[in-house]
Symmetry: C2
């Protein structure tokens, strides 16, 4: 069987060029006579891999010098705990809830201090992003937390909250490297890589110098302290080396594609094809509010669960995989990350059009 | 360049058959039209991968039904914290120190309760395993902790301590699946996989039912709670999916090799070749006490640091890689894990013999 169009929300499609290179190098990386999987993380070849990955990521995102880049384990979910453990010196943090992931992060933060919900769109089943204008934050909050792109509900912050001197912490897992961001707007920006950047098992944390502190909560595991990992350049313990290598290959691919401005243009075009079709369709409806629509995750429904199920089943036959929606929204969800080619979105729209005509 | 003989202590050599299969399946796993890296962890193909891996591991180790098998992130180092967080209901634990790794685990445990050192071989630079006969344990200790094979110092417990009703917790990272163990002897047995089982980024925890508890220390991150992961079959959050897949391939390879009894025979033979040479050598000395020698990690020295450096440099030219010893012991260290072929050990001994004659 050939390659399918894989619309999974994560782990998700990776660039075919990257997979081909990984396969070719599996038994012998760069003349070392061994796989990257077999290499000591203290060896020179691996040092080059992780240092090059960091340098390329810094270049792609324009990471300022006063930010650390950490390659860690445990995914975004572990950061839900690591963030308050490291940053809650005043034991106060403000959370804006725009979906399942910020809600989970909020719940976890309550284990460590006074986490306050300052805005939520749960009343509308998270189909929109709360208005961030005029929000009042706790004056001595340690940070304000958002999940900038909601994988499940398919929303994306159209603008960031103005948090003044309070550090903004953002989970960008499902929009990571899909468009330029201004890192200086954040105190900490992080994401699990398994959506847009690499295989599951690596989370990248980009954190400003002053938030890498000694005075973390006392029971914080040593390897979860940003200070430990920043001092050791992410090598305090054995890192998820093969995942970091794949991320590095994806960074090279992104640079060849023209960087994040070029990716954004490509992603706007791809998402446009799908949203334009949805907006004129009489059968399908996009569930997220128009002005908050994600470029990466596009949930849509027919309004008829049987018809939704039929769509998912028939799509499979057309080489369209993992298009079933999350149970919180139902229907379908097309995740169209960086590595999803335009041809994949076109194939999806073509199939939707055919399905609509057949089921009108 | 061809494949080298890779004596790295970890990440370390993997079976060539496994790497070949991984390379062949990189773009299309089992007719799915996608890589295992790209697969939703909630998909049927991935469910088969993780369920088969668990079943094969249970078969290989003879894991009793009242034990959970968890595939987690963060390596053994994260378990240094997770173990006390999950098990220290009485806030008391006894540690036997036989090297760097048990010492690190001991230090971490002190963040969470009263960790007591009941025996140590630090006086002899950890060249031996403390005598476990007649040790007295804290009666209400939550557990007794050991690191059963010391990667750095090359020792292995010749027998386990008798801890009575106190659960024994053992880090078996560097001897994982190298020989049979009786899982019922332990309350919890665990290891990072990056030495004998797979790529860095997966740690396997095998834990008895009664130690999977609700009443963990209150600040334990949700995903570090064994209960969370046991209830979710290791899928509470996105697991390190590709690493688990590689572990699964290694389990199949081990079964084809004849299981753990056959691996032990093979490992005894391989280690014997190296130790026999060392015992008759006038130049090289094995640093670990004879009765405590590891089958996996063999440190040895010439007693002359310049000569050690010369050995390491010239070995490289003979296709012998990552043979430099850890700075705590100096000299050389040959890690001869499951996937190191007998021919690799023979090539090493041949080179040592030649080097000895040239530098007598």
């Amino acid at each position: 069987m050939g390659r399918v169009y894989n619309f999974s929300a994560g782990p998700a499609v990776l660039p075919e060029e990257v997979l081909k290179q990984a396969a070719a190098e599996m038994l012998d990386y760069d003349g070392c006579g061994m796989s990257v999987m077999e290499m000591s993380h203290r060896s020179k070849p691996f040092a080059r891999i992780i240092e090059t990955a960091e340098a390329d990521l810094r270049e792609l995102m324009g990471v300022p010098e006063n930010y650390h880049v950490l390659f860690l384990q445990g995914g975004a979910t572990q950061q839900f705990a690591a963030i308050p453990m490291n940053l809650m010196q005043n034991k106060k943090a403000d959370y804006i809830l725009s979906g399942s992931w910020s809600k989970k992060a909020f719940k976890e933060a309550k284990l460590y201090g006074e986490a306050r919900c300052v805005a939520s769109s749960e009343d509308g089943n998270f189909s929109y992003v709360p208005d961030v204008d005029g929000l009042e934050f706790t004056p001595d909050a340690d940070y304000v937390y958002i999940c900038q792109n909601e994988t499940i509900y398919g929303t994306r912050y159209p603008k960031l909250p103005n948090t003044g001197n309070i550090p903004l912490v953002s989970d960008v897992s499902s929009m990571f490297l899909s468009e330029p961001v201004n890192v200086a707007d954040y105190g900490l920006i992080y994401g699990g890589v398994q959506k847009n950047v690499g295989p599951a098992g690596v989370v990248i944390v980009i954190v400003r110098d002053d938030l890498v502190r000694e005075d973390v909560l006392p029971f914080t595991p040593t390897i979860m302290r940003y200070k430990t990992q920043a001092d050791a350049k992410s090598l305090s313990n054995t890192p998820p080396a093969y995942g970091i290598y794949i991320c590095g290959l994806v960074f090279k691919w992104l640079k060849e594609m023209g960087g994040l401005e070029a990716m954004k243009a490509r992603n706007v075009e791809k998402a446009g094809i799908l949203y334009d079709f949805l907006d004129q369709s009489k059968l399908f409806t996009a569930t997220a509010r128009k002005e908050d629509r994600s470029l990466m995750n596009v949930p849509f429904i027919t309004g008829d669960t049987d018809l939704d199920a039929k769509f998912v089943a028939e799509a499979k036959g057309a080489g369209i995989e993992s298009i079933k929606g999350h149970r919180s929204v139902g229907g379908m969800r097309a995740s169209i990350y960086n590595a999803m080619p335009k041809a994949g979105v076109e194939a999806l729209v073509q199939f939707m059009d055919k399905f609509e005509r057949e089921n009108a």
